[in-house]
């Protein structure tokens, strides 16, 4: 019988059904991976196992007994610990204090036993081979080190089940190797490790079994011998990709809109050169931490640039803030819709004109209400934003896909010549996704230069005319998207490592 059993779990957030009738068995002494696209429900499922969310229906069984976990402490009580995707480290405390938070060793008199705390922390770090000074302030350590602290924190509670949610996304290669070594050791010691990732190569490398999630449904579990990349991809996607994407550019005149030469930003990206052309969609692919967004930020003026030149229509520019960039016709649609894109408590109307308020003015600085309404109505119609009469709705009350369309409307209203879109279809349903891709193509066909940043390979291949491949802060290659495959792109991204080997 399985050690941990997820039994017919269903979970919704509002009207959004995230998990549908999920059942998976986990054994002791195995590394069991969960894979799925962004938004497939992996993290939600793990948070239910870890007691952070409660399932709407279904149950978790441990050793055949139902386990009711209402918060992380109860989950620890059942021997389940999670290493979170967003690290839950208090940067102001020492490494050791983070390891033993809420679990501090105390002397008989009830006060903290500092000697033991630091000694125990050192022992925990030693156990996983992490070279961390227990007295170092956690905030000053690298992300990899912080993750080691997180793992130590979970292991110090003597758990049987260790859940790691996308642990490798922010780690360097050495750190990943070290992490895998630790995971294999823990497996030898009989722990169950649940490993969430969307990186196929990692999963096939270390897992004993893999379960695949798609749109909140578990599409199957594969044993090691059946674990073939093609099979997994089919289970993840399960639909023919080509039909969903718009056709490629009809006509390409190769007129350069933006030329970027040797730009660098310390600790984020270095010596990146490429160009963006009118009438094309230039895809920029990179995994998390590749420096794509940072690069766009610097060009757009939202962050500084240490070195390098940027030419817009052949004229050198260096934007000090986004306002200057927008004035020159360069717009940036952020991947973080809520934090950097929309004003969710303001109306659709107010949002659509946020980036072009100046052009909505008459008599100097006075806003022309009629023009604003007209502008909004146009975009609601053009982008098919639902409901049709949403002009005075708060954006908060729209669905994710429609919110994304409002974000598009905001930037299109600013009449850009060059549009940077960062993960344009993140967190929207399939219909809206297709629509957004077609919009991007239409924009390019009208002559606009589109720079599309994405970490989803199918999207990159399906939409772009050329692909810039970023990896670890460097531009690893620029490829024409003719007969290009996912493998080609991945090989380009890892080119350097391959050569070193």
């Amino acid at each position: 019988m399985s050690y941990l059993k997820v039994d017919h779990i269903t979970k919704s957030f509002g009207n959004n059904k995230v998990l549908t009738d999920i059942s998976i068995d986990f054994e002791k002494g195995e590394i069991h991976s969960l894979i799925g696209e962004n938004g497939a429900g992996k993290s939600t499922l793990m948070k239910i196992i870890g007691g952070i969310y409660q399932a709407d229906s279904g149950q978790i069984l441990i050793d055949g007994k139902p386990a009711n976990m209402r918060d992380p402490v109860e989950a620890y009580g059942h021997g389940i610990g999670i290493v979170h995707q967003e690290l839950s480290i208090a940067g102001n405390m020492t490494a050791a204090q983070n390891v033993f938070v809420n679990n501090e060793p105390v002397k008989k008199c009830g006060f903290i036993d500092w000697n033991r705390l630091y000694a125990d922390a050192a022992a925990e770090f030693e156990k996983i081979g992490a070279n961390i000074d227990p007295k170092a302030i956690a905030g000053t350590l690298s992300v990899g080190m912080q993750q080691m602290i997180e793992i130590s924190k979970v292991l110090s509670k003597d758990v049987n089940v260790l859940i790691l949610d996308e642990p490798t996304s922010a780690l360097s290669d050495n750190e990943i190797e070290n992490l895998f070594r630790i995971l294999l050791e823990l497996k030898e010691r009989g722990k169950l490790i649940i490993f969430i990732s969307h990186k196929l190569n990692e999963i096939t490398r270390i897992s004993d079994r893999v379960s695949v999630l798609r749109d909140g449904v578990c599409t199957g579990t594969l044993d090691r011998e059946d674990m073939e990349v093609q099979t997994i991809i089919r289970m993840m996607v399960g639909r023919s990709i080509d039909a969903l994407y718009p056709p490629k550019a009809k006509r390409r005149d190769n007129k350069k809109a933006l030329t970027i030469e040797h730009i660098s930003r310390k600790g984020k990206f270095s010596d990146v050169s490429f160009d963006i052309r009118y009438g094309e969609i230039t895809g920029m692919f990179g995994l998390v931490g590749a420096g794509r967004t940072e690069c766009a930020f610097s060009v757009f003026g939202a962050d500084k640039m240490d070195e390098g030149q940027v030419y817009l229509d052949g004229k050198q520019v260096r934007f000090k803030n986004p306002a200057q960039a927008i004035r020159e016709g360069l717009c940036y649609l952020s991947e973080d819709r809520k934090a950097l894109g929309l004003f969710v408590d303001m109306t659709v109307k107010e949002n659509t004109v946020a980036a072009c308020l100046k052009s909505m003015c008459r008599y100097g600085e006075f806003l022309d209400e009629n023009r604003i309404r007209e502008n909004t109505e146009n975009y609601i119609k053009e982008l098919d934003i639902h409901p049709e009469d949403c002009r005075n709705y708060k954006v908060r009350n729209l669905s994710g896909g429609n919110q994304q369309k409002v974000l598009f409307a905001k930037w299109l209203a600013a009449k850009p010549k060059i549009l940077i879109v960062d993960e344009p279809a993140r967190g929207v349903d399939v219909g809206a996704k297709t629509m957004i891709h077609h919009i991007l193509r239409q924009l390019a066909d009208t002559g606009m230069a589109v720079w599309m940043i994405s970490s989803e390979l199918p999207e990159i291949l399906g939409v772009s005319d050329r692909v810039i491949v970023m990896h670890e802060g460097h531009c690893r290659g620029i490829l024409e998207n003719v007969g290009l495959t996912e493998e080609d792109i991945m090989r380009t991204a890892f080119r350097e490592e391959v050569r070193h080997e």
């Binding site: 979170h84 967003e86 480290i89 208090a90 102001n92 405390m93 809420n102 105390v106």
Partner: protein, 323 residues
């Protein structure tokens, strides 16, 4: 190894402490040169007496601010508790019982503060300001705007009691300061306050009962304000709504001067607050000694508050640039 540890940890805490200590020395030296009376026992007594209520409240305020909040109710609770105590005593309630009742009332106010902060999802500054206004209204109404005096002799005698040559208020403060200093370093709960201030979400995931912790922080601050009120009543043998006017500002400034960040929770220390308390006490005394109008005190307090925040922000920015 042991030796190095000592040096290291000193170097880590403590640029801020060093600056404060140097400043304290400079001001003391300057005042000693200016007036030979400054370093006399008499003046030192005055120096401590005039700032001891703020000193007591600063201990609780430090924990509130480290948790990421702020508490403006203290300036209302101080006179409130002195008045309630006085009224109870005049109805011949024994001092011990009266004091406990007053402390309980303050604890209830602390609970109320946290309840409103949480259920209204409001910045604690706004909540505590509103509650302070209500308490001041109560103070004024109960007393009708005049001081409550004519307290029983058994109580007024407390003001003259000396233990080891020190008045009751000093003894209470010394005990409180020692407890806070030791506990803030060695007690699990105090450590968790730092953790919650640093990263509330992480604290929740680690199973810390965050809401209970916030409640306790506000209760402690309110109770200490009540202690200050009781001590005030003992010292002056009377109670008045006007005690502790603007004390909230002086207390917050003291904590900020001590290096506790008003911008981000999680950073600060009781040790810093003790140094800040000493510094502010000397500064206020220096004003009185040098005969400058006491009206300048408010101006200086405001300047210090803003300067302390600007400095700690500035130091942080510099550190970030370096790394």
């Amino acid at each position: 190894m042991n030796k190095r540890k000592g040096i290291l940890s000193f170097g880590r805490i403590n640029f801020h402490y060093l600056v404060l200590i140097v400043m304290i020395f400079i001001v003391t030296a300057a005042m000693t040169v200016y007036s030979p009376y400054f370093l006399t026992v008499n003046n030192l007594q005055v120096l401590i007496d005039t700032f001891i209520m703020e000193a007591v409240m600063a201990l609780g305020m430090t924990m509130v601010i480290i948790s990421g909040g702020i508490d403006l109710t203290v300036a209302g609770i101080l006179p409130f508790s002195s008045i309630i105590l006085a009224l109870l005593l005049m109805r011949e309630v024994p001092f011990g019982i009266a004091a406990v009742l007053v402390l309980l009332a303050a604890a209830a106010i602390g609970c109320l503060t946290n309840l409103l902060r949480r259920s209204l999802n409001l910045h604690p500054m706004v909540v505590t300001m509103a509650i302070a206004a209500v308490i001041k209204g109560v103070d004024l109404t109960i007393t009708g705007g005049s001081a409550v005096s004519g307290l029983p002799e058994s109580f007024t005698r407390l003001g003259a009691v000396r233990i080891l040559g020190m008045p009751v208020s000093w003894i209470v403060y010394i005990i409180l300061a020692a407890v806070f200093l030791y506990f803030s370093k060695n007690n699990r709960w105090f450590l968790q306050v730092f953790f919650v201030g640093g990263n509330e979400d992480a604290a929740k995931l680690s199973g810390i009962k965050v809401e209970a912790l916030y409640r306790n922080v506000y209760v402690i601050s309110a109770v200490l304000a009540a202690v200050a009120g009781i001590l005030t009543a003992i010292t002056y043998s009377s109670a008045s709504y006007s005690y502790g006017t603007n004390a909230d500002l002086r207390v917050i400034t003291t904590v900020a001067i001590g290096g506790t960040s008003l911008t981000h929770g999680g950073s600060g220390s009781i040790a810093g607050t003790l140094l800040g308390t000493l510094f502010m006490a000397i500064i206020y005394n220096a004003f009185v000694m040098s005969g400058i109008s006491t009206y300048y005190q408010d101006v200086v307090t405001g300047v210090f508050l803003i300067a302390a925040v600007l400095l700690s922000e500035g130091i942080k920015v510099l550190k970030e640039r370096k790394s």
